[in-house]
């Protein structure tokens, strides 16, 4: 089974040289720590920054330099800064090659819910709806089950959705899965996790074809 860093490390293997990538808050942010050697990517932060660097050294924080999670960050050489409408021009216009974001629920048709729990939590969708509606390649990074132990991979989202039929791939602490027209297709198992365990933890339709390899991390 993977921890959050393991999920991020597996997703980092999906990065390709020359890609512009938007990382959401939470596990997706950790992906930046595991960029494979020999690959150059630039991270886009939807508040208006391309070429985002690591957190600043203590004492060098700048209130005017934050990421979309409102954390203090730095810029890398070649970075650029722009306004919010230009930022979403990049996103809506499909100039960003990969979006990685967290989710509360993913349905086996690619629907995603991650912005609202009616009556409980209403923080807003931020940029998530724009990202999922336009990104060509969306990977969801999340735990397979919620805190109550219930599967987050469903036949249909129970929470208000963020976008329809948009998720392409899901990487969880248990597995890597593609979204196909027939449901989730199991691609890889996390180290030490059996196909049976993944089946039991997945409420949505699951296709298991042939031998399922373990992830290489």
């Amino acid at each position: 089974m993977l921890d959050k860093n393991g999920i991020a490390k597996r997703i980092a293997q999906e990065l390709r040289d020359g890609w512009y990538v938007n990382l959401g808050i939470g596990i997706p942010t950790l992906v930046a720590n595991y960029i494979p050697e020999g690959i150059s990517v630039e991270f886009q932060s939807e508040n208006g920054l391309l070429g985002m660097g690591p957190f600043p050294y203590e004492g060098e924080e700048d209130a005017d330099m934050i990421n979309a999670g409102k954390q203090t960050v730095t810029t890398l050489p070649g970075a650029s800064i722009f306004d919010s409408s230009t930022s979403f021009t990049m996103i809506r216009g499909q100039h960003v090659q990969l979006t990685v974001l967290g989710a509360m629920e993913v349905a086996d048709n690619g629907d995603i819910a991650n912005w609202k729990i009616p009556g409980k939590m209403v923080k807003g969708m931020g940029g998530a709806m724009d990202l999922v509606a336009s990104a060509e390649n969306i990977i969801v990074a999340m735990m397979h089950a919620n805190k109550a132990g219930e599967s987050k991979l469903l036949t249909e989202c129970t929470l208000p959705i963020t976008g329809v039929q948009c998720v392409k791939k899901v990487v969880t602490n248990l597995a890597v899965l593609d979204i196909t027209s027939e449901g989730f297709r199991l691609l890889e198992r996390a180290p030490g996790v059996s196909v049976e365990e993944i089946k039991n933890a997945t409420a949505g339709r699951l296709i298991v074809g042939g031998e399922i390899p373990e992830m290489h991390l």
């Binding site: 932060s45 939807e46 508040n47 208006g48 920054l49 690591p54 957190f55 600043p56 050294y57 203590e58 004492g59 060098e60 924080e61 700048d62 209130a63 005017d64 330099m65 934050i66 990421n67 979309a68 999670g69 409102k70 954390q71 203090t72 960050v73 800064i81 722009f82 306004d83 919010s84 409408s85 930022s87 979403f88 996103i91 809506r92 629907d111 609202k116 209403v122 923080k123 807003g124 969708m125 931020g126 940029g127 998530a128 709806m129 724009d130 509606a133 336009s134 208000p160 959705i161 963020t162 976008g163 329809v164």
Partner: protein, 233 residues
């Protein structure tokens, strides 16, 4: 060259009345017009509709206007980080219109650009699309979003000149440029007000035509919401 300088925040917000619609730049607490918000608190106007990506935190930014019950309605994309906001929203005291961030930015830009509405895929099939026209382009459904304008847009820049040209610093730019274009009256507060000619015209972010009033803020706290650092190894 037109001089748009006003003496201070109080003079800048002259004419803002109860029940008006305001746009306020900023992302989180980054690039918010702190001095103008302070003046609005002092002025005590109420029933405001505030269009701003976020709602500040309990004791800073728009949170200060919420504390004084000066806001009737918030139009935002993300409103976490604010307990008083959540309380007023759940109790029904505060109306809230949540809008996808890119649609919010584009609706402001469109408002300033004379484009009354546009189609976007963001929000299709979700609560956001309820009651909105859907049309397919290139085989993909889009929803119709309308432009936003405001009685006053209040933005914050790093440097500005007396004719209203603005330069922002870092990610404090965010919603400020699109909102600056969408105010019937746009107020710019800057950290440093300079004479015309001191800013290189090649590097102006917001041309002065969009700004009606400008002043140098008395002081900037520039609070950091999430201080994240790495240690030197």
């Amino acid at each position: 060259m037109i001089n748009k300088v006003v003496g201070n925040a109080d003079e800048a917000i002259d004419g803002i009345k109860d029940n008006m619609t305001l746009m306020l730049g900023g992302f989180g607490l980054c690039g918010i017009p702190e001095n103008s918000i302070g003046a609005l608190v002092k002025l005590g106007v109420t029933g405001l509709t505030c269009i701003s990506n976020n709602a500040g935190v309990d004791d800073f930014g728009l949170g200060l206007l919420l504390q004084g019950r000066q806001i009737k309605k918030m139009v935002s994309s993300y409103v976490g980080e604010n307990d008083e906001f959540e309380r007023q929203m759940l109790s029904g005291e505060l109306e809230v219109d949540l809008i996808p961030q890119g649609s919010l930015a584009e609706r402001c830009r469109a408002g300033g650009a004379g484009i009354p509405a546009f189609f976007t895929p963001a929000g299709y099939g979700t609560e956001v699309a309820e009651g909105k026209e859907v049309r397919e382009f290139n085989g993909k459904p889009h929803i119709l979003e309308s432009a936003l304008t405001a009685d006053f847009a209040i933005v914050k820049a790093w440097k500005g000149d007396t004719s209203g040209n603005l330069i922002y610093k870092g990610t404090a730019r965010n919603f400020n440029p699109p909102m600056a274009m969408a105010g019937k009256i746009t107020i710019a507060e800057v950290e440093e007000l300079v004479e015309p000619g001191e800013l290189d015209p090649n590097f102006i972010h917001t041309p002065g035509i969009f700004v009606q009033r400008i002043f140098q803020g008395e002081k900037y706290e520039k609070r950091i919401e999430q201080r994240t650092v790495r240690t030197r190894s």
